[in-house]
């Protein structure tokens, strides 16, 4: 099979594949897919290793210790698989490789600064909304949860509303 980094799956067929993975996960696990829960738990695990006394005082962090380690949760295992699966997908499509993705006339350092800033904002936002585009938008969306649909519409509103201000990083 020829590797072509510019070739992607048909978006509708890819969506059906994603939907089937989500459906099977719902039926087997009783819950949908997610992502941001795992980065939060990884953070709680790191903070608990460095400052356990402080973690015990912060309710949201202390609650991740209920099953022993913050990493003892199914979402951590799901995201571990996600990283393996994504690396396999990138390797077999010729897209695996160290680079900083940005527009041709935008610098690497400002791009990384924006990536960090956006990440921090999303990390906080996903805690606020009990999940990100995966766990809240996709999974709750398929169950037709009102909160999930309100969340998804808000994500698009926020993205479209702010896109003009950061357009230079893609040019």
């Amino acid at each position: 099979m020829q590797r072509n980094p510019d070739r992607f799956w048909n978006p509708y067929l890819g969506g059906v594949a994603l939907g089937l993975v989500l459906l099977v996960t719902f039926l087997v696990m009783g819950r949908g897919l997610g992502a941001s829960g795992a980065s939060f738990r990884l953070g709680a695990w790191i903070e608990n290793a460095v400052a356990p006394a402080h973690v015990a005082k912060v309710p949201a962090l202390a609650s991740t210790l209920e099953d022993g380690s913050p990493l003892n949760d199914w979402i951590v295992f799901e995201v571990l698989g996600m990283v393996i699966g994504a690396a396999l997908g990138a390797y077999t499509s010729g897209r695996l490789g160290r680079e900083i993705l940005r527009g041709p006339s935008f610098g690497a350092a400002p791009r990384l600064a924006l990536a960090l800033a956006g990440g921090i904002l999303m990390g906080a936002a996903a805690r606020m909304s009990r999940g990100c585009t995966s766990g809240q938008g996709l999974s709750g969306g398929a169950l037709l949860s009102v909160g999930s649909w309100a969340f998804m519409l808000s994500v698009f509103a926020g993205g479209y509303g702010f896109a003009y201000l950061v357009r230079r990083q893609w040019r």
């Binding site: 059906v16 994603l18 719902f26 897919l33 962090l61 699966g85 999303m122 990390g123 606020m128 037709l144």
Partner: protein, 233 residues
Amino acid sequence: MILPFESLSDERRALGLAFAVVAGMAFGFVLERVGFGRAQKLAGQFYGSDLTVFKVMFSAIVTAMLGIVILSGVGVADLSALNAGYTTYLWPMIVGGVLLGVGFIVAGYCPGTSLVAAASGKLDGLVTVAGLIVGSLVYSELQPYLRGFHDAGRRGSFHLYDWLHVPHAVLTAAITVIALAAFVGAERIERIVNGGRTAAPGRTRSAVFLGFVALALAGLATLAIPVVGSAAR
């Protein structure tokens, strides 16, 4: 009711976690293959040049939504068990959504896709993941001071079909029709923004669209099945 399994009960936990890894692998592989490990492709959604994010997400939602309505309609899946983990907190979900959307276009990734990018070797993706961790820890510190807001608009397990007072299957059929119209509209927007350059839709697209219509009709057909005992929808 057969499904969902209690995959995380004590005696089955190891197997459940192993399945979680396999499901995650499939999830990550599909996200990479549709192009969600590339920031420019994701960002294209917000400039109208590449609406792949919308097409993939909405097709995935329609697929799982129709699967759920059919399987719960014929009594194979227990809908209330699936709904258990998804409680609506309207206000923090709306504000969190807007902030996440802003973070999405600033970072070029959403949380899940930043993991895909990081796994593909993209440093901007890795930095976004580091940011996610920091942001979630900072919010945990602030949470005791935001308690009123964090739990505002609590509606419990509340669904669009409860809100609109229509049967689940009828609403899924209506959403399927809206999705198909929106896909055609999205393709038109791409054509306009990209100056007429058309990505040929082809046979795959027609097959998927026909499949959605067939599944939506199958969902409606489950309404004819008499409700037995506690199997009420």
